[in-house]
Subunit: 487 residues, 2 copies
């Protein structure tokens, strides 16, 4: 009897909110770390294949091209067979679900498996797509399944309002576990998923996001990747005098440009999708031969990125994460007199390219990734848009920063220009403009571990926003339209 | 005719939202800077009086005591005569108004004048009270008046839903202009004032808050107080290895302790208020002689803080801002072998006190400010609770940090302990626990300009919150009760 009462106590405890939120956070952190590991291995394998076939250009090219094509075809085929609902980002659909629409088969185990495996393979092939949006979907499915499991064990009745609260929390966890950014995650999930937000749900999302981010970072320490808990893309920019007031004008210009660029991205993506869908014969052909479309897009992107050819001009060898790390470095690339260590010299050499012109490489990088991201997010695989946009924004900011460094070689206000700071501002502005959110600024700080640029980072979005509000396009809205969920 | 059509265009433009928000932000920034200036002058005058009467202990004591008593009496009398609605914080009342209750005379010019002048004088006398809550009220009044003014000029009809949106934005501006923290300001205003928040209002508050914070910081540059735009309480802590994972346990303990301390603060404040109100004779006496209550509380606090006497043991000479600055320094106070510059030596000497014991001074500081803040916020003057609580939290965190530094003289994980980081975590945890918000963590980052401690800063509130939710007390709720607005 004692044993049974103990059993009852345990079961009633398990039904409590905070236990549920803790478990959810931990599961998502484990999943996120595990997926990152696999993605990293895929990227590593591709580079290893490329490097080990050095001297045989044809084989090298074929390996560079074929490896990702196989992966993307597997991803697209797997998702099609197991769970077609796993295609795309998932944030627009979560928005719809949280508003009360029931989407069948959207939060099932099949979709979860399809999403996780599809995402690992599609990200592993080096496409300019991200993990954030799909991971919000993954977290929501996990929360639903976990909730069902606990309900069946404890015998507590399901409660629709509680389910919705848990889903909102899951969205926050999804973002938090991707970027190790609990605060930004909570805010981003609010902005993206809700139109009216119940403040009392706030702490649920927050608590769960903290658990998730904490475990996610502790895993990195356990597996000896990090020494202690730090930011994911740690920067080391000048703090005492981050920027002069006059530079705010440049930051405002970045904001305006990013506003236009964001609208342009959404427009390009939509045009591409409607073009593919509009051609009836092409559409029928592609639906019959499912692998042709992803394979050809992958072929195009991989050719452009081929490090032995065109990729030299657009830093094509770099993955999103690596590019971001290098764009945020505290070095002025265009300064020939800069004192650099070995590591930094390598970075500058890579970005100088064969033309020995940093600006050209940056422009090519921006254009190629821009078009690549607009195409890749239209593929029938799980894909997010945040990370590539973030990287493109960082590159654009870096470009502006390098230009400023050239125009004002002695700096403004007695101190030299810090192009890395411009990269941070650009990343915040462009991702804010495309996703139509402000919380990206918070994510930027949590990602980089520095907050000295807080005012520029919010001035840019403030300008972006007035523009975006005129255009009235946001990427979520556009996806909603193209998925025929709205309208 | 051309002139008239131009006139019409100008007027129709002025009625637009973003013009309104810009003007609001700029006005509030100017007001905030102006008030800070006056408060600073008052504090300086008091110290100048004290220092210039060196050698005459009785006169020194009298000046130290009388100057603030005169100020507080003026403040209390002025507020009573001009606008009794200006008493207290204003956040609870704003919460009530935003929920649709009409509070008469609460958003009028009289109240604005009473609040601004009352706040300047009550803060200038060195009480442990803050400017944030009242400034939210000031911003709301300004927004209302500005809205009325524009309506009367342009002839646009008033619109209740628009008024509410503007009020919500004004709350954000109020916080942003106090701390130069636009993101934290927006979040804090959401958490404190709303129960259901319309996400589309978000960008209004954000835009206005950015304008406010920007102008507020630019003013500091124009008047040569700062060299460039930086954080208000800029810290300079170690970034490469901010803390070891094991130290998270200590941060969690801070969180739990702060959860209890926050509940204790609310309890103490409430007991004090109900005690004063409960004694019928005392209450009648105090209502007749309006100056006795503020004067006696001020006398008590000033005596305890008297730098020539008891104040030596609790760093009584320091204002809230100065204390905060020193608590956040990147120096281990208890380390006798630390290499310090002149400035840092002075700080350590001040906190060591006559007993030459940093811990004793810190404990005295915490206890005295704690009781002082609980009493001072009950005075019939405009007063906020955030800043003193924030300082007390920082002191508590510093205390823990110094203890850790003594217990682990060789550090944890190969690196020494950084007590300044503990101070940051303590400040976030205690202010989060008292105000029942999470956004305080964001405010902390924006105030200090460093985000390396993001995970500890959110782990502590996460622990605090589970506690606070059990106690179900928050300071806003308590004030609502004691003002008979709720219940």
């Amino acid at each position: 009897q004692c044993c049974r009462s103990f059993h009852n106590i345990v079961i009633s405890k398990v039904g409590e909110d905070w236990i549920f939120l803790t478990i959810l956070g931990i599961i998502m952190a484990l999943l996120s770390y595990f997926m990152d590991f696999i993605i990293h291995k895929c990227e590593y394998a591709r580079k290893w294949l490329y490097d080990s076939s050095e001297g045989m250009p044809v084989l090298q090219f074929l390996l560079w091209i074929l490896f990702p094509i196989v992966l993307i075809c597997f991803s697209s085929g797997f998702v099609h067979l197991v769970g077609p609902n796993a295609i795309g980002s998932g944030i627009p659909e979560m928005k719809t679900i949280l508003r009360g629409v029931v989407l069948k088969e959207y939060l099932t185990l099949r979709t979860l498996i399809a999403k996780v495996i599809g995402l690992c393979t599609s990200l592993g092939c080096g496409l300019p797509i991200g993990k954030e949006g799909p991971f919000v979907h993954v977290a929501s499915i996990t929360a639903t399944l976990l909730s069902k499991f606990i309900t069946s064990v404890t015998g507590i009745y399901e409660n629709e309002s509680r389910t919705n609260e848990m889903l909102a929390a899951a969205c926050a966890v999804g973002v938090a576990c991707t970027f190790a950014a609990p605060i930004g995650g909570v805010l981003f999930s609010i902005e993206v998923t809700a139109s009216y937000f119940a403040v009392r749900n706030y702490w649920r999302g927050f608590y769960s996001a903290v658990c998730g981010a904490l475990v996610f970072r502790i895993l990195a320490i356990i597996f000896k990747r990090e020494e202690t808990i730090t930011a994911l893309f740690k920067t080391n920019l000048r703090q005492e005098f981050p920027f002069d007031v006059i530079e705010l004008v440049a930051f405002a210009i970045i904001g305006i440009a990013c506003g236009f660029a964001g609208a342009l991205f959404v427009y390009t993506h939509r045009k591409f999708v409607t073009f593919i869908r509009g051609q009836k014969r092409l559409k029928a052909f592609l639906q019959k031969n499912r692998f042709i479309f992803p394979a050809s897009v992958m072929f195009l992107i991989a050719t452009v990125n081929y490090p032995g050819g065109l990729g030299q001009f657009n830093a094509g060898r770099l993955t999103n994460g690596e590019a971001l790390d290098e764009l945020f470095t505290n070095v002025t690339w265009s300064d020939p007199n800069a004192y650099l260590n070995v590591n930094e010299k390598e970075i500058v050499l890579r970005w100088a390219g064969p033309t020995n012109n940093v600006f050209l490489t940056l422009i090519c990088f921006i254009v190629m990734r821009f078009l690549g991201a607009a195409m890749a997010t239209a593929l029938p695989v799980p894909s997010g848009v945040f990370m590539p946009i973030f990287t493109i924004g960082a590159a654009f900011g870096r470009l502006m920063g390098e230009c400023m460094a050239v125009w004002f070689p002695r700096g403004i206000g007695g101190q030299t220009i810090v192009p890395g700071g411009y990269a941070i501002v650009g990343a915040a502005a462009l991702s804010g403009s495309v996703t139509h959110t402000i919380s990206t600024a918070v994510i930027v700080f949590e990602l980089t571990g520095q907050i000295a640029h807080v005012l520029p980072c919010v001035v840019s979005p403030a300008f972006t926003f007035t523009l975006v509000l005129c255009c009235r396009y946001s990427v979520t809205y556009c996806f909603l339209c193209s998925e025929n969920l709205l309208r």
